[in-house]
């Protein structure tokens, strides 16, 4: 594999890892699979489009505002919708997220139509290529994405391990009943998980839109990140990073050496293989799994 391919794999893995962390956060804390994650990520990118139109001269402000909106959007989704699904069958909660995804898609088209937007162009930013060693180059937005993914993962790991709210989140994920009896407010914890999850998704969506624009296809990228999260184990953050690397490598290799049409299906083939041999994923906890 040439070095350029390796660089491409790392960029794609960073995208999947950043988006996949959102699946893991929500699943780990509340055992809900959020199938609207791709759409939420897409809406995050469109928020940047809107804010870039408002503040074309102040990119940091637009980026910060869009990321904050992403965080608030996740909390709002929990407060308005998912809160009512606590204690319901897991499937009903998943179906609600599917319905939410459809709703978000419809609203996105109604507000922004189906055309492609380039928020980077509003800032007058050209996304210059970054030259790495030996002629290998990636775009600036991709480089930023890789760095951001590393920062987000580090931040999440520290947050979950050492901070008060992080410990509460882990406790709620391990045993909601005991956690609640110790005085942890589950609704707050769940809302925080949704907020953080959508925040990271919005970050990923924003950087992707700076790189290649945004249209409705971005939701598909979000869905393809799900196999990455599952391959590593749906309740393990380091697992999601490794899973992202595996899925990205398989996808790039298939595109390069077999057939470009495979791009959309390879993540799901990897998913099927993992489900067949090790359904709880590489790092997932085995006893929690809904297995026969």
């Amino acid at each position: 594999m040439s070095l350029q391919l390796l660089a491409n794999v790392i960029v794609l893995a960073a995208i999947y890892a950043l988006v996949g962390s959102g699946y893991v956060l929500i699943y780990r804390v509340s055992r809900v699979l959020n199938l609207a994650h791709g759409e939420l990520m897409m809406v995050g990118a469109y928020l940047l489009v809107a804010l870039a139109g408002l503040f074309p001269l102040n990119p940091p402000l637009a980026l910060a505002l869009a990321a904050t909106c992403g965080l608030l959007m996740g909390i709002a989704v929990y407060a308005v919708l998912m809160r009512w699904m606590t204690g319901e069958a897991v499937l009903a909660a998943v179906l609600i997220t599917i319905a939410l995804g459809i709703l978000l898609r419809g609203l996105t088209i109604l507000i922004w139509t189906t055309q492609q937007f380039y928020p980077g162009a509003s800032f007058g930013w050209r996304n210059p290529p970054v030259h790495l060693a030996r002629g290998v180059q990636i775009s600036s937005a991709s480089a930023a994405l890789v760095c951001l993914t590393a920062v987000v993962y580090l931040g999440l790991l520290v947050f979950l391990r050492f901070t008060r709210w992080g410990v509460r989140m882990r406790a709620a994920g391990q045993n909601p009943l005991l956690a609640e009896q110790r005085g942890i407010r589950l609704h707050g914890v769940y809302a925080l998980a949704w907020g953080l999850s959508t925040f990271t998704a919005a970050l990923a969506g924003m950087l992707l839109s700076l790189d290649a624009g945004v249209d409705l296809n971005m939701a598909t990228i979000g869905l393809k990140a799900f196999p990455a999260a599952l391959v590593g184990g749906l309740d393990s953050l380091p697992g999601a990073a490794l899973g992202a690397l595996i899925v990205a490598a398989a996808e790039i290799a298939a595109i390069q050496y077999v057939d470009p049409l495979l791009s959309d299906v390879v993540p799901f083939i990897v998913l099927l293989v993992i489900l067949a041999i090790r359904p709880w994923g590489l790092f997932g906890s085995r006893e929690q799994l809904d297995r026969v």
């Binding site: 319905a99 196999p227 297995r291 026969v292």
Partner: protein
Amino acid sequence: MSDRSALAKELSLFGTPARRLRLALAFAVLLVLPFLATPFQLDLLNQVLLASISALALMLLTGFAGLISLGTAGLLAAGAFTVGVLFREIAAPFWVTLPAAAAVGAALGLIFGLPSLRLRGLYLAISTLGLHFVVVYLGGEYEARQTLSTGIMVDSPSIGGFTVSSGRAWYFVLLAFAALALLISVNLRRTRTGRAWRALRERDVVAAALGINVTRFKLLAFVISAAMTATAGALFAYFRNFVSIDAFSLYLTVQYVAMIIIGGMGSLAGAILGAGFVVLFPYAIEAAAGYLPARFGNMVFALDYAAFGVVMILFLLLEPEGLLGLWHRLKNSLAARQSGAKSTTAPQ
């Protein structure tokens, strides 16, 4: 539109003492209906009948056996592409392609069902989702190989020298298939297989302890359901005279899942009601969009998406029993009001 509510009314009367009479009446109405309906209404009816077949199939799997599948669109695509490929490559007639589609569906059902032996719930749904993408890839790959960027054209089928192309002819063909699907479902439900599925749905460990062959009945549910769905896909190919992989997106699967939820989980009448609701919904939205500002008028499909999402959310949150639950609740509250009125007036 009035025709559908008549149909809904007939179906909701299942289980009353005069059941046979009602069934005969329903049958008579269904036979007369195509002669009263306009071509547009007839097309809607045909779409509902076609959707009912797969909705019934999904209800067997999810509503009866408790096995969750997100593979409906993939299976429909498999059936449609079996017809498309056989028609294009060897000009195979109706009576070859249809059994072939059912056989392909059954084989795929076996594959879709294998993960259910190890996984359940969410993880099973995910594995069928993965298989959906594999099937769709294969279809797209065939289209790309044949450089059929627009899809495959399929001629109308001819049965006994009679070409089925008019809306009315299709109505009777689809009615026959939907009735067959309903008959199969009713019979499966009331026999040994149905009882085994019900036990599986409640708790598969207990089912196994009761001596039910869990492996066999789980796979049987997948195979029967998938064969029915693929047959519906084959009919879809003939009905539209056209097969393209773009028609079989994940959204189609979601629509079928929505049918069995909106109709009423675990009930065959619910599957048909849900099919009617989901099929007619975009047309209702289109009609409503006529009253909205022009800006929304030319984005009907987006409006349809958003409204469908809202309706699905509302049903899941407020009425998980679906339309049937709504109907029972309405009936009960009416009865309660009547008896309440009686009891308040009685002492006077």
